[in-house]
């Protein structure tokens, strides 16, 4: 009779299975203590989080709210046009200072006791500091310069605002490495225009979505709309690039060298059964934007964002964990300022491919929840990820691999100390 060793539930004592990153224990998706430790070691630790886009706060006094992990954050543009980020939590009692998603303000004022902050987060004034009619007030040694909204270090890269709690963090380009930052420059290195936004609540741990973004194996098996219309198939020329620390990746495909692979016909996969004639062909009207032949790419930046370029549909997705089994996924659809009206129209129609109602990818809204529901009763078991071998390396000739998912786990283990 097989015996099961008692499970040590302390996250400090957490042991990864000996098989390494080809396994991910299900406990990682349900354990509240691990979730809290991630907030500290990843989101408030040595990583750069996506905070938003410069074009969201174009004018002096503009501000927006977002979150880094579960920590609420304000991003502002001050009167000298510099961008700042700080924790959205009054230094007095801890109330949220900004409630609106977007606003334009002269200063940041907490509504609870009217503590007033500069746009860079420095405390400016405190109500009744000297009391009322000579009574009350702060102690005489109260020093306004010793209180402020907790700042994040901020850096702009290709129109994106990144923030970190690690004061001595390397710059964003070093964090990304040359391959990753080069590909972001390709996609976002021109003035951007926001075409629309929305968000989705997915009922799963954030890491299941982080895996899902890096999982090129599932793309054409689960998402069969694509396959059927030959927008993206594993038989297209394409591959995976991993960053030095393996936790960021780019998956890309080229359309030009499309050939029908017999595996699709023989394996009787779901995707082959679909009628491929679109009645509204306007959906896939596209133009070739780049001369590198890449028509489809998805690029992740650890921990919380991704850039998608599906035909001409350019979007940033980022996510915020809301609890151990709930994540909010944000979509920002983009074009370039330089787009013609015709180009904008094509991006607009292609937005139907992704998002909460995306013809291609809406399955991602539920598939990670299916894993969450399938695994939560069995924290000591693990997933199995050996497609494409056990290595964690770039794979330039195939996307039938889980190498980028293993890469995520390698980076995760490093930063968590597991």
């Amino acid at each position: 009779m097989p015996s099961i060793a008692p499970v040590d539930l302390s996250p400090q004592q957490f042991q990864w299975p000996p098989e390494g990153v080809t396994r991910a224990p299900y406990r990682l998706f349900t354990d509240h203590e691990i979730y809290q430790l991630e907030q500290q070691r990843i989101f408030r630790g040595r990583s750069w989080s996506f905070l938003g886009l410069e074009v969201e706060i174009p004018n002096p006094g503009d501000c927006k709210t977002t979150s880094v992990g579960e920590t609420p954050v304000i991003v502002t543009r001050d009167m000298e046009r510099s961008i700042h980020a700080m924790v959205n939590r009054c230094a007095h009692k801890g109330a949220l200072v900004c409630l609106k998603r977007r606003d334009n303000v002269a200063n940041l004022a907490c509504v609870y006791h009217a503590w007033n902050y500069e746009l860079d987060g420095r405390l400016k004034s405190v109500a009744f500091r000297n009391g009322v009619r000579g009574q009350g007030g702060m102690p005489t040694d109260f020093d306004i310069s010793r209180h402020r909204l907790q700042p994040l270090k901020v850096q702009i890269f290709c129109g994106m605002i990144f923030g970190t709690f690690a004061e001595d963090m390397e710059d964003v380009e070093t964090y990304l490495g040359p391959d990753m930052s080069g590909f972001i420059k390709r996609n976002l290195g021109r003035p951007l225009r926001i075409l629309g936004t929305h968000s989705q609540t997915i009922h799963n741990n954030w890491k299941l979505y982080a895996e899902n973004l890096r999982d090129s194996y599932h793309a054409t098996l689960l998402h069969t709309f694509y396959t059927t219309f030959k927008v993206n198939r594993l038989d297209m020329d394409g591959g995976i690039l991993l960053s030095k620390h393996k936790w960021h990746h780019v998956s890309f495909a080229r359309r030009a060298e499309l050939t029908e692979a017999s595996e699709y016909k023989d394996a009787n996969v779901h995707s082959a059964s679909y009628d491929s004639a679109l009645e509204g062909p306007g959906l896939l009207q596209a133009w070739e934007e780049f001369d590198d032949g890449i028509t489809h790419s998805i690029q992740t930046v650890f921990p919380n964002m991704c850039v998608q370029f599906t035909l001409n549909s350019l979007a940033i997705r980022f996510f915020a964990p809301r609890s151990v089994d709930k994540t909010e996924l944000f979509w920002i659809y983009l074009g370039y300022i330089s787009d013609t009206e015709e180009q904008s129209q094509m991006r607009i129609m292609q937005s139907n491919l992704t998002g909460a109602a995306g013809l291609v990818s809406l399955e991602d809204g539920c598939i990670n929840e299916f894993v969450q529901r399938g695994t939560r009763a069995d924290p000591q078991s693990s997933s199995f990820m050996e497609m494409g071998g056990r290595k964690v390396e770039s794979e330039k000739n195939s996307r039938a691999t889980e190498t980028a998912v293993r890469g995520f786990w390698q980076g995760y283990r490093d930063i968590m100390g597991y």
Partner: protein
């Protein structure tokens, strides 16, 4: 000049009546609630616009929302994808549609209508959620004596969609 006036006048005569508008809006909701998604494109004209977006996008006049179908062909593709390509936990809708306010349209022969709606979604496991609330902004015309949407813009109050959206609203 006189001929042009007469022509406009004759088109105006062909605009749908208030009863027809109310029936169209009610039938549309009942058809989706009955799960008869195949019939959904028939509520629209051949070149109609169906657009689901959020209040945030709508107020800022941003063109990308959540669904945009330009013409009945794209709606038919969504229906086909629903049946053949898309994977999701089965669920059903129950629309609660508020009173319809009918107004003048910019287009000759059309009437404009707006109404509020709430949709409760029931999942396969019995879970019920308030899935969507918002406003319908419609343009409705008569085609061979039948009232159809030439435009239906669905503006959701929330920026956030729970899980996914595969059945139109």
């Amino acid at each position: 000049m006189a001929a042009k006036t007469r022509k406009i006048a004759s088109i105006r005569v062909e605009a749908p009546t208030s009863d027809m508008v109310a029936e169209l809006i009610a039938d549309y909701a009942h058809t989706l609630d009955d799960g008869r998604i195949d019939l959904w494109p028939n509520f629209f004209t051949e070149t109609a616009l169906y657009h689901v977006t959020t209040r945030e996008n709508h107020d800022q006049q941003l063109p990308i929302g959540i669904i945009r179908c330009a013409g009945r062909g794209m709606m038919a593709d969504r229906v086909k994808a629903f049946h053949t390509a898309n994977i999701f936990e089965p669920h059903s809708y129950n629309h609660l549609v508020g009173p319809v306010r009918i107004g003048a349209s910019r287009s000759p022969g059309a009437v404009a209508a707006r109404c509020n709606f709430q949709i409760v979604r029931t999942m396969e496991d019995g879970r019920m959620d308030l899935f969507a609330t918002g406003r319908h902004f419609d343009e409705i015309v008569l085609e061979d004596g039948v009232a159809r949407f030439s435009e239906r813009v669905v503006v959701l109050d929330s920026r956030n969609v729970d899980i996914l959206m595969v059945v139109p609203l």
